[in-house]
Symmetry: C2
Subunit: 517 residues, 2 copies
Amino acid sequence: MIEAAVRHTRSGGRDARRTKRTAPDFGMLPSLHRNLPVTELMDEEHVARIDDASMSILEEVGVVFRDPIALEEWKQAGADVRGERVHLDRALVRQLISTIPSSWTYRARNPERSLPFGGKHSIFVPMTGAPFIRDLEDVRRWPTIADLNMFHKLSHMSPALHSTAHHIVEPMDMVVSHRHLAITYSSMKYSDKTFMGMTTSGKNAEDVLDMCEILFGRETMEETPVVTGNCNGNSPLVWDETMLSAMRAFCRRNQPVLCSPFLLGGANTPASVAPAVAQLNAEALSALAYTQIVRKGCPAIYGHYLSTVSMKSGAPMAGTPEISLMNYMIGQMARFYGVPWRTSNLLGGAKTFDAQAGYESAMTMNAVLHAGANYIWHSAGWNEAGMHCSVAKFVVDAEMCAMGYRMAEGVRWDDFDEALSAVRDVGPGGHYLGHPHTHANFQRAFFMPKLFNNDSIEQWQVDGSVEITGRALQYAKRLLDDYEEPKLDEGVDEALRDYMERRKREIPAVDALNTEH
Amino acid sequence: MIEAAVRHTRSGGRDARRTKRTAPDFGMLPSLHRNLPVTELMDEEHVARIDDASMSILEEVGVVFRDPIALEEWKQAGADVRGERVHLDRALVRQLISTIPSSWTYRARNPERSLPFGGKHSIFVPMTGAPFIRDLEDVRRWPTIADLNMFHKLSHMSPALHSTAHHIVEPMDMVVSHRHLAITYSSMKYSDKTFMGMTTSGKNAEDVLDMCEILFGRETMEETPVVTGNCNGNSPLVWDETMLSAMRAFCRRNQPVLCSPFLLGGANTPASVAPAVAQLNAEALSALAYTQIVRKGCPAIYGHYLSTVSMKSGAPMAGTPEISLMNYMIGQMARFYGVPWRTSNLLGGAKTFDAQAGYESAMTMNAVLHAGANYIWHSAGWNEAGMHCSVAKFVVDAEMCAMGYRMAEGVRWDDFDEALSAVRDVGPGGHYLGHPHTHANFQRAFFMPKLFNNDSIEQWQVDGSVEITGRALQYAKRLLDDYEEPKLDEGVDEALRDYMERRKREIPAVDALNTEH
């Protein structure tokens, strides 16, 4: 009905139109420039109260750095170090974090896909770290490197995903101690978007960064970030050697890490929203400050993973009201310090891709966008509290990001007067389907979801009564059929493979668990 | 795990605790007092631009009132009436709407369930108007009066639903011309919360209001609203006799109507967000102004039903970004005029209660809460673009409203210092599960959804691998088992039944379609 109404006479007839409509558009959306006002849940006094509480925690309780190098560096920097516990004066913290850049541009392999980041600029990054997959047949099983490659391809083809991240699923068929190499190579090879780097140890991080040097050159990396790492805290108030050594590797090469306290509300935080945020803020600040000791002026991102936990199972939940509230508050704190911040998007705790997953995910995305997050991680595929990445959910989440992107862009006013003339032309009781303004603007005016079905029930039944999981898996298969590899330079590809081969010979083959969120 | 940690020693042992946990809490939450800041998408200049555009539409294009009484009244009020088209001067509009109260208290049958309304106060009202039901066995079929009674019972037992609305589903087993009587009686009998009144004609509205007089007395109704009607516009810019005569009936008895333009973006509006809002605003203002001609000072609500439409099917969609954007803008306009406003909540276009329905619904609820809506209609059960009300979705939506309520309440600060001492007590690397502050606060600190499953997959499998639809239907059945009727006064009940019997004798039995949104 509408389709006919908005037909462009210049489009070359039905066949041309069909081709145009069905040809998938894989162009990446630019870095999101948010025009949606941020939700400021706290007034200045509340912000000051969180800040003061966090600083008091850093001064009086202190933070444990389980890492001799960091302890020595903290001493050198003038902190009050007692055993493993570092007491940080607020003046020192403020001075250190003041040199973190508030924005930068991520350089992607394809320079057209480089991304302004920070301030009003935000990017969507798919989930990582799932030990299970729900695959193209919706079967839950252990993933392989082929599955990871597939997710990197789907990320590449999803316009609103700005990154391919790293181990979206754990490639269980790869030896753990070599896995970071294969993961990094997959991110680099199957997409030309930016990606993330493994931080499972300092040495693994060095491998990732060496591979980045092969791809981008050391000079580029000195200029601008090309990769992002994530370092989780052991909340409350502990950073361990594994994370800190990876953090150092990234900072030394001028690459940002997400400084991510890992909060399970009520379990490793006080059972109250505002105090939990105060603790999280103290933890994030302590790591952010440390990045500037490693390398003054290097980029760093205020991070967190945060959840409330089920009273029944102890498992992290998703989409609950307190998670939204904490996101609004953390956004305010990060802006108060002038540091870009990371959050988690489109999380689900459901065991299948049912309505629970949909509610939880959309609740999370709204919180994230209203909170004004910059590094919007876990933006596609996350379900079962991160235990599996679902192919069906991945492609729907990617479309949700496109919808969130559109919402956060805000409203255009450039056609306002023109459209008002349409109101005069059409008048009371008319319709707009035949009006030139409608023809010219309908497609860009209103988002048309591909994966939400808005047919009549009769049409839907004729088409096989397929629910969203089935439709999404069909769509993912079509996407993969259309995938075209953005070829790596042959010399670079060879150098990356040589590097991996050498490192596989050097690193003992050891299997052990390897996850991060 | 957590459950054990937050055990209260004073709770009287395992059995008492189990009883307490499983005994459903049917107490209604008070009228929501929103502390979530509203999303102000427009600056003052944009608001003025919409206002000016709307006023210009009213002045220059005019609005059609297809109703001789209204046309005569508009003439008397000094409007420029040309045929059916009424041109409204902006000064006249501003003067008329200035007498609409900005807030009031809804009187419920149970005075403890009366509701402050308007300004920062919002209420959740279930969906209405579905011609189909997905029932307790998830079968899609025509609904009966027994189904409607069931939904009124479920509304009664859902703490975050503040109203039972009216024809949640159409009782297809009742003769159309008598249906409004049975619907009103069901709303009044099975719950003591506030409700809505049918506006399917002026005479039907009079019947509803007569029944309200039996229940509340004329004096109470002169003092304060006891019921709400809805009047849809025929966008663009037309109000018809059916709606206007119902509107008059409500206004004359001092009861509010939702003045609801019915927008399908791009079909009966310009294909652009801001101009569509300008048209909607003009339409809403014209009806709001008219309410004050009928009775100066009577309550009225800025309404709308709004959607973007599928280019493929022409059907209204849900959860799309432009719907959120329009909600933010409409909220700003309603606040600009100082009039309470209505929106639609938790809408889905899915054919089943699958993940699509979840995403769409949660997108809508977030928009509504951030937009600061007062009368939050269609808050439970809506799927398939309003074509069916799903029992499973109804109880999940009701829980979503409880979560939205919690989010919109904002953050407590009264335990801030106490909780910070917990941080000192626990220190780095500890946990909070055994801390007295956790014991005292966990349950109220974090919302625990009943219908979202957060168990491990192993536990979920042991429990039968039930997805949310199955769990929700089990829950609805348990609720109905526990239902206790809030008895009507016997004399009132008899008077209502007498009234209905008399009117059934007087009104010819006629069948015809009867829906509103």
